[in-house]
């Protein structure tokens, strides 16, 4: 799977209260959530971006609350992928579950600048800064996580009868 879009750059420790403040959590409609994505730090984010654009952030992106409203809001605002140095645990799970792929790359996260065009190959982990031609390689995703994204999220994946990983030996 290949994604391509313009970079929107954010810093370290972007927590879920910054992604979608709790005062907007009294609804669960994704379009409504998207309108308030980054309301306190980039008001009107949804209107600035084009569908398919890419969010690039520093370390510990998505820290804090378990609100799935956070990845849902980012996805509904139009972002196709998030590249970051690292992600908080619950956010990581939630994003894949709702069909929003995440890519971890310290180099790419530091090198890509706001407004650059970037392309991402999810299966190989290759990231290309199309303005400079620089390439970065993230660790490729495990197959089942790529399949979750291909299915459009965990619900569709489970409905297709796919099973989740269990690499231990049963007793």
């Amino acid at each position: 799977m290949r994604f391509q879009g313009k970079v929107w750059k954010f810093g370290d420790d972007i927590d879920t209260d910054l992604i979608i403040p709790a005062r907007f959590l009294n609804v669960s409609d994704v379009e409504e959530l998207a309108k308030n994505c980054f309301a306190d730090i980039r008001k009107g984010f949804m209107d600035m971006v084009a569908p398919g654009d890419v969010l690039v952030a520093g370390k510990n992106f998505g820290a804090g609350s378990s609100r799935e409203h956070a990845p849902l809001a980012i996805k509904a605002a139009g972002m196709s992928v998030i590249i970051a140095e690292s992600f908080a645990r619950i956010f990581y799970r939630n994003a894949f579950n709702v069909g929003l792929p995440l890519v971890e790359s310290v180099e790419a996260s530091r090198s890509l600048s706001e407004g650059a065009m970037v392309s991402i190959h999810l299966s190989t982990g290759e990231i290309e800064d199309m303005d400079t031609g620089r390439r970065f390689f993230a660790k490729p995703l495990p197959d089942f996580m790529r399949h979750i994204i291909e299915a459009g999220g965990l619900v569709e994946y489970v409905k297709r009868g796919k099973t989740l990983p269990n690499n231990t030996q049963p007793r």
Binding site: D15, D17, P21, N26, N60, A63, N94, V155, N166, Q169
Partner: protein
Amino acid sequence: MPMTITEKILALHAHCEHVSPGDSIEVDVDMALANDITAPLAIKVFEKIGAPVVFDREKIALIPDHFVPNKDINSAQQAKVMREFAARHGIVHYYEMGQAGIEHVVLPEKGLVIPGDLVIGADSHTCTYGALGAFASGVGSTDLGVIMATGKTWLKVPPTIKIEYEGKLLPLVRGKDLILFTLGTLGVDGATYRALEFSGPVIRGLPMAQRFTMTNMAVEAGAKNGIIEPDEITLAFVAQRSHRSPLVCTSDPGADYEKVIKIEVDELEPHIAFPHSPANVRPLSRVGDIKLDQVFIGSCTNGWLEDLRDAAAVLKGKTVSKGVRLIVLPASQRIFREAIKEGIIQTLLDAGAVIGPPSCGPCLGGHLGVLAEGERALSTTNRNFIGRMGHPRSEVYLASPIVAASSAIQGCIAGPEDM
């Protein structure tokens, strides 16, 4: 092979002899939890999957606590979605406000989590139940929706960081100070994807309320779960509340830890987290002059009866400083009732506190105490991110109920010794 307590509980629920960090496992869930913010999304997922019934109507807890009493029409609609789902599926542990309170206090209080359990909740502070010697971890709504249908989820076994607390605590130092100091040591991502095991003689001496405060905030270092081995104190707490037999797991000698951190507590002062990170901590003696507009005592972190007792002991015969609003929300109806019986509520009212219903409201800037632009609050809660309690240009400081109460009297951040 030796295992940590976290690995043992995970192995049992995956039906394997042994698990190691990095293993992906499918586990049985003993209790699945959601609240009025996360349940509506989880219910949508459950319905999309098309399961006719929930996996077990006694193993799901649905607790309206974040925006209750409902703050507006939208939040009332959300609560209604959950209420109707609970009725339709005969969810046994659905509790209206009058019988409950904040989820992470209500579940232990009603004996719904005991040692050895595996609990998954659609709330990041689900890690609180680790204080009972259970594995407990937060997820999002999709994971929870799938669990409501199947009773199972998949997890990656986390490496464990052990923190050993040694020495003797000063009289006014609490579990809140220990965890704030620890967060300062680890940083906000110092335990990402890890289990945090709190241990050592200091932990053995803490009452349950303070242990819950510590495991509650494990997620503020990014941890998957926080955990404390069960002992007599845990078992006494559980025996009064549950008829099920606890499964006591402890870490084996020689178990593999990614890291062991020793913390000497003898000279540890009360600690305060400065804006805008729970890991941005300073000892009380180095706080400086921080004037306050609001003090909040409550939440899943510090709304326990012991916390209210601490606050009342400081506030007895004193009054809240002019210009400061002191808001106290007991974390559950049961705690509220006990606090009335003990005279705590009277003491707090006499000092000038406003007492409200059990709710998460103020902690996440929902309602019952939202901050205006430029305002500053000291709070006993768990997060002080930008805009967490209201306006994006307001400030939140985190501390124990003792420091909160004495600061309310002084009008600035201060401990009882300064008075």
